[in-house]
């Protein structure tokens, strides 16, 4: 029902940062993250008239759009770059001026490790730490809540191992 929906601007202001962080944890550059985040909200804006809160929460709805947009990005641009990064094991390159501020973030290196995880593990971690429940993560990833938990914990252990390996 229209009356149940918050104004789109509220959704935009509330979720822009979380959606950006979710995308940023998966793609190579801040510029890519901005482009995908922009696409997410453009798509959401166009589709908002059809969004019904009784079917899903605003968070789950937006993260579904974000997940699809990120997948599309990888299909279009990402495969060769990801393979190259995996082989070289280098931190992602940041060439754009807009990313300079992000360089200062304390946890950027950790997100680089997240980006290197297998796709479904990476996705479960990014969705969970973007504030979604395991039930919502499961729905988005087309699996049960328990399977989502399992994926997440496997991802967490893989992440720990990745961080340890680099420290050695």
């Amino acid at each position: 029902m229209l009356a149940d929906r918050p104004p789109f601007e509220n959704l935009y202001r509330d979720y822009l940062g979380r959606i950006y962080a979710y995308v940023r944890a998966q793609v190579a550059t801040a510029a890519d993250a901005e482009d995908i985040t922009a696409q997410v909200f453009m798509n959401a804006y166009q589709a908002y008239g059809r969004f019904e809160t009784r079917n899903t929460s605003p968070a789950a709805w937006l993260f579904r759009i974000a997940r699809n947009a990120t997948t599309d990005h990888f299909r279009a641009h990402g495969r060769r770059e990801r393979l190259r990064r995996t082989i070289e094991r280098q931190p992602v390159a940041e060439a754009d001026p807009g990313s300079m501020a992000e360089e200062r973030l304390q946890y950027k290196a950790l997100l680089v490790h997240v980006a290197r995880l297998p796709e479904r593990q990476r996705d479960s971690i990014a969705l969970r730490h973007s504030g979604l429940s395991f039930e919502e993560v499961g729905v988005l990833m087309s699996c049960t809540e328990d399977a989502a938990k399992m994926l997440y914990h496997r991802g967490l252990k893989a992440l720990r191992d990745s961080v340890h390996q680099e420290g050695e």
């Binding site: 601007e9 935009y12 202001r13 822009l16 940062g17 979380r18 950006y20 962080a21 979710y22 940023r24 944890a25 801040a30 510029a31 993250a33 901005e34 482009d35 985040t37 922009a38 696409q39 909200f41 453009m42 804006y45 754009d96 807009g98 501020a101 992000e102 973030l105 304390q106 946890y107 950027k108 950790l110 997100l111 997240v114 971690i125 990014a126 730490h129 973007s130 914990h153 967490l156 252990k157 992440l159 720990r160 961080v163």
Partner: protein
């Protein structure tokens, strides 16, 4: 799991929480994107914000209430039917020669810009001239005729404008920075009875810096020849294109009118080459208005200085060869498309601080995709591969 391992994972979870909570876009991004979304809203939503002012204007003019109501309905109709997103160039197209600017007609010269980024299409599903644009794989069969004698063409480059550039442009249009001014190279300006928004280049789909004017109390008489009306509306704001153009007129929903001033580049020996967007559609400056009402909406490229440099191009035969290389093997559900049309065009390629208008071969063919009339377009960069950035 040992207690130590458990603690280690919990610490990692805490770090992840912090990492996701502290990873945020740059400070200006939120307002920039919001403005971009606002500027791309369907026209009726843009109208809604200004309706209060329009109603006030109608009241001030002491129009009979029936006429005022009709004016409102007409203006709203203009917006509602814009939702149909009719394609550029559809409907009764007409042509008119525009003044030739230094932009489009500048003689090639100056130092080349080094390797330039590669132009490409990104075709969203959309109606184009009665057909659905098809962006998927296809087996391409060349069945057209393409002859190009040119061996070099100009590439045009512009520098991303600064906030000061946007301010100067707004001043020329007759608008001053408003209280809503956003940061980051985007300007919002107020003029007498109109609002001007200037937006920076967009990387994907590529878009040059552009303006939107919401003109709610235009003094231009909006009846008569549509092109003349649109020309007068643009001229009133000093926004008439200075580059060569053709006009195309669409009637939207039977009441509103859209006039496109489709940009082209004058190339010595080849005539005018159309500028196409990332879907292969011609574009330029656009004016929407509803005859008999006071409102109008104008959007188009911000006037910029562009520098030319000559680049060697591939031949028509090489372009056709590249077309063949992009063809998918036949079989399965992959459609077979006869490519019957080809033309040299210019297309915008975003490059960050500098972006480019580059020549390209645009191939197209129509086909039936499971009974749905569809069009397949393929863009082959014209600049020789050795001068395209990898």
């Amino acid at each position: 799991m040992s207690e130590e391992e458990d603690l280690e994972l919990k610490a990692l979870q805490r770090q992840l929480d912090d990492a996701f909570q502290t990873t945020r876009p740059r400070a200006d991004f939120e307002e920039e994107l919001w403005l971009r979304m606002q500027s791309r809203r369907p026209i009726w939503l843009r109208v809604r914000k200004g309706l209060a002012g329009l109603v006030e204007g109608i009241r001030e003019s002491r129009l009979p209430s029936v006429a005022a109501g009709a004016a409102l309905i007409m203006l709203m109709a203009a917006g509602v039917f814009t939702l149909a997103r009719l394609p550029h160039g559809g409907g009764g197209a007409s042509t008119a020669a525009g003044p030739i600017s230094n932009d489009g007609a500048a003689a090639p010269g100056g130092a080349p810009f080094g390797a330039v980024p590669r132009p490409q299409l990104s075709v969203p599903p959309q109606v184009q001239g009665g057909s659905i644009a098809y962006g998927g794989a296809a087996t391409l069969v060349w069945a057209g005729n393409l002859q190009v004698t040119a061996t070099a063409l100009p590439v045009y480059r512009y520098t991303e404008p600064t906030r000061a550039d946007a301010d100067a442009f707004a001043a020329k249009v007759g608008a001053a920075p408003s209280a809503d001014v956003a940061q980051g190279g985007i300007g919002v300006y107020a003029g007498r009875d109109f609002t001007l928004v200037v937006l920076a280049s967009v990387a994907q789909p590529p878009r040059e810096p552009y303006f939107n004017v919401s003109d709610l109390k235009s003094t231009v008489k909006s009846t008569g020849d549509s092109v003349a009306v649109a020309t007068a509306i643009l001229a009133a704001h000093h926004l008439l294109p200075t580059w060569p153009y053709q006009t195309a007129v669409q009637t939207i929903g039977g009441t509103a009118v859209r006039v496109d001033f489709l940009r082209s580049f004058d190339v010595p020996g080849l005539g005018r080459l159309s500028l196409v967007d990332s879907a292969g559609n011609p574009y330029g400056t656009q004016v929407d208005f509803a005859p008999g009402t006071a409102g109008a909406f104008e959007t188009g490229p911000m006037p910029l200085t562009i520098d030319p440099a000559t680049y060697p191009i591939i031949s028509a035969a090489q372009a056709i060869q590249s077309l063949g290389a992009s063809s998918a093997p036949s079989g399965g559900s992959i459609p077979v498309v006869r490519i019957t049309k080809a033309e040299l065009v210019y297309t915008l390629v975003w490059g960050g601080d500098h972006s480019y208008y580059e020549p390209a071969y645009l191939f197209s063919g129509t086909f039936s995709n499971d009974g749905v009339p569809s069009v397949k377009r393929v863009l082959i960069p014209a600049v020789v591969p050795s001068l395209l950035a990898p």
